[in-house]
Structure formats: structure tokens, C-alpha cells
């Protein structure tokens, strides 16, 4: 999986303010002169940021996809939100099915004097249907025709993009992945999930003891599992030390990969109703993450990948507890 896909995948799981923060942070890194616009206290005038001296505007929207029963509803929600933003930028307001003028008091203080928006990028965390494109373009055309165009150029264009397009266009790279992974991890901590608890896992032997309490009928299997895990973990430590001594660049790549693996574990186990089954595929996921840097290690890559997951279990970011 490429950085683009990785980044897009992570971005798509962010919502609301967190999504907006990530988008703006990325744009700040990539676009010289990108200016983020705070929503409070005076309001953002319908824009989340601008660049190119005020000629390019950006609007973000990150709904919670699972909160809609059907894709149609999500489409409608995205269309509705962006339409409102465009209305405000065009200084219009819907009254009884009609569009009436309503001055945008915030924009004069946000955009540089005399500058008009020539391009508006609408960035959503979900863009898996083209059904949003037509209605938004049509709406914008209508709005421009009714607007005094004080802040929006009459020839202004809009562009609607989702996570993948954003990642491609704004150079998602490993640094971006790292930053997104951190944000992802932090944002997940704040989400109350049905199946995931954030707790303070115990040491490895204690974890095995808890496992034995959960499955007293499988003591010998647990012993076998523990020994295999320890073996993978040990091999991983030895390999890491070797890398640290001889290939520090790869060592750093391994560190970065480990973080991404944990982020991936979080993502998948959180979303799934069978979280433990997700773990089974994690070694393969880990392999995919590490492949670009460690492909030359051949069959060792498989063991390395398993070892990384084993280490995450052994060093306790991943653990388990008895159900209540």
C-alpha cells in the first residue's frame, strides 16, 4: 500500500474538527502562504482557509459516515453543507425558496482587500459517489449569477475532492503519514467505542495470566502462544539492534513503520465487530507497511512483520481484559 493510500485511508476516518485540523495542517505544510481561518469568535465566513493571497479558498467537511443509513443521505448531507458555505461566500441567503442578498460581515476582515476567490476547493472525508459533483457545480453557478460577487470572482471555479484526491494533490508522504497517525491515535482516544477501552495494560506475564483466567480450558495452548510470541518478539529485538548498528536509516524506517502498524491496528480493531479477527490480518498489514523499506530481506520480512505485532502485544500497547 502506498503512502497515498495509507494517508487517504487515515484521513477518511477523521471527522468534524479533527478532520479540518488535519487538512489545514497538511495545507500549511504544503502551501506557502496558506492561512487557516478560525471559526471563533467572529465566524469564518464560510471558509476554513485560503492561499495564493486570497484567491484560493478551502472548505472542509468531515461527517461521520456511519451516522447515515444510506449513501444517498450522506451525499445529501455533503451537498447541503458545501452549498451553505458557497451561499455565504456569495453573500446569499435562502428565504422561502428564493435567494436573497445577505452581507457576509466576516469576509472583509478575512480576505485581503480587493481580492476575490477564483478557486474554491471543497474537501470532504468521503467522496465515493459522483452524485455530489453535479448538484454542487449547478448550485454554485446559480449562486454566482445571483451574487454581487464582492468576494467571489464571477469566473470562479469549485473543485470537490475526497481523501484520496487530497492525498495525491497535496503530496502525502511519510512525514504526513506520521503526523496523521499521531492525530489518528489521539482522536481515537477521545472516541467512546463499544469494543475498545483505553486502559493500562499489565506486564507481559500478567497478561498471560489474565489470558489463562479468560480461557482456563486452554492453558497449554496459551503456553504455546506465549512462547511463540516471545520468540517473535526476541527475534524482532535482535533484528532491530542489528539495524540500529549497521543501517540506522532502516532502523528509523522500522520505527516509523511500527507507529503506522499501531495506527492500523487501532483503525481496524475499532471499526470491526470481530476485533480479534482483525489482528490475524495485522501481520499481513504490517508486511505491507514495511515492504517498501525491507523488501530486500525476502522471507525475513514475514517474520519481521509478525515480530512487530508481537512486540506491540509484548510491550503492551495492545492488550486484553476480561469482559465485564
Amino acid at each position: 500500500m502506498s503512502y497515498i493510500d495509507d494517508y487517504a485511508d487515515g484521513l477518511s476516518s477523521l471527522t468534524a474538527q479533527v478532520f479540518e485540523d488535519e487538512v489545514c495542517t497538511r495545507l500549511e505544510h504544503v502551501l506557502i502562504g496558506f492561512q487557516r481561518i478560525p471559526a471563533k469568535p467572529q465566524g469564518d465566513g464560510g471558509l476554513d482557509g485560503f492561499s495564493h493571497g486570497g484567491e484560493h479558498g478551502y472548505c472542509c467537511y468531515g461527517p461521520i459516515p456511519n451516522s447515515f443509513k444510506k449513501p444517498k443521505d450522506l451525499e445529501a448531507d455533503i451537498i447541503g453543507k458545501f452549498s451553505n458555505d458557497l451561499l455565504r461566500l456569495c453573500e446569499l441567503f435562502r428565504e422561502n425558496e428564493k435567494l436573497v442578498c445577505k452581507p457576509n460581515l466576516a469576509l472583509p476582515k478575512i480576505l485581503p482587500n480587493g481580492v476575490k476567490l477564483k478557486q474554491i476547493v471543497l474537501i470532504a472525508n468521503w467522496f465515493e459517489s459522483h452524485n455530489v459533483i453535479g448538484p454542487l457545480h449547478t448550485a454554485f453557478k446559480t449562486f454566482k449569477s445571483k451574487s454581487k460577487c464582492a468576494f467571489v470572482d464571477s469566473d470562479a471555479q469549485i473543485r470537490i475532492i475526497g481523501p484520496k484526491e487530497f492525498a495525491q494533490h497535496y503530496h502525502a508522504d511519510e512525514v504526513a503519514i506520521l503526523q496523521l497517525a499521531t492525530r489518528l491515535v489521539i482522536s481515537k482516544i477521545q472516541v467512546a467505542a463499544a469494543t475498545v477501552d483505553i486502559a493500562d495494560p499489565k506486564e507481559f506475564d500478567n497478561k498471560m495470566a489474565v489470558l489463562q483466567e479468560i480461557r482456563p480450558d486452554k492453558l497449554s495452548v496459551i503456553e504455546m502462544f506465549a512462547e511463540q510470541l516471545r520468540t517473535s518478539w526476541r527475534s524482532n529485538l535482535a533484528f532491530e539492534q542489528e539495524l540500529d548498528s549497521t543501517l540506522p536509516g532502516l532502523h528509523q524506517a522500522l520505527e516509523d513503520g511500527r507507529r503506522r502498524i499501531l495506527g492500523k491496528v487501532l483503525q481496524r480493531m475499532m471499526k470491526s465487530e470481530e476485533p480479534w479477527n482483525e489482528l490475524v490480518d495485522m501481520a499481513a498489514e504490517a508486511q505491507a507497511i514495511l515492504k517498501s523499506d525491507f523488501n530486500q530481506y525476502g522471507s525475513l520480512l514475514e517474520d519481521l512483520s509478525l515480530g512487530e505485532v508481537a512486540r506491540l502485544i509484548g510491550e503492551c500497547p495492545i492488550g486484553w481484559e476480561k469482559p465485564n
Partner: protein, 177 residues
Amino acid sequence: MDASQNPLRLLAELLSGRAKPVINPERFAPSATYDLAYRMAITSLTFRIHAKANGENSTRIAADRLKLYQFLAQRPWLVPTIKSWAESRKDAQLSMLSSDRLRRGYLGDVNHDNVVSYMIARGILKWNGNFLEEGNNSQYIEIIYSEAIERKLFASELAALDSLRSIRITNEMLGEP
């Protein structure tokens, strides 16, 4: 690896439907090796101990030497390797065997290059040809050194740097292979 040998599959079989996963991202921690404060501290200590006088008011160290020494300071277990490399230089073949892994290691330490760039941007160090000298803000180096000595910090790194004094590393050894 077959199903019976895959520990993750074993774990899934053991826990599915019977336990809650507990994910604690706070428990995941990057290696302190990549922390800027740590790298700057080790680089400063290395400079402080191994830089030589250059005229009356400045000291300097070859950038390659700094890179090798700070690499070894963080990995004291490699000091015997550099020692045997230095001693085996008379025997070209042996020398190659000893040196190859080490060279690959420290030359690949891109993070150090970034740290040096940062320290230069901060004015702690500055370039003088292939050498690094004290910059306008070089008092940082002395502060770190004093703190390390007084509070007995980074003892193994300091010990490694100290042991390097008695090992003769020539410019030829530092050169690209």
C-alpha cells in the same frame, strides 16, 4: 507459517467473543534515539570532548569524525569493533571485515546530518570547510556538558567517548569506502 504456528491466529481463536481488546496508544513510544534533545546533547558532548583547538579562540572537529564518534557514543557496544578495526588496519583484508558493517552504520546515519543542520541553523555550530566549529550560540554545548557531568547523565555515552581517545582513527578510515 501455518495456522497452528501463527501466534496471532492462536490469540484470535483464544479471545474471540471472550475478551475486550485494550489498546493503549500512550504505551507506544518512539525510540529516544530520535529525540532532538538527545541527539543534540550527544553531538554536543562529542564535540566538547573531541574537538581540537584551532587557533586561540576556537575549536573544531572534522564533520566525518563527529559523525562517527557520536554514532559510537550512542552504541558503546560497537567500541570494541572500532578498536579492532583500528588495530587491524595493517591487514587490509581483516580491516575490510571489521570496517564494513561499521561504515555502513555510521555513514547511513542521516538523522545526525539533520541534527547538525539544525544546530547550525541554531547557531550552535558552523561550517568551516569540512570542519564544524563553534557558532555564536555555542554556549549550549558547555551547558549540556556541565549538566551531564554534574548530574551524571549519559554516563555510558561519555565513557564511550572517553575510550575513543585511546583509539587512533585516521582520516583514511573515515573516508568513503
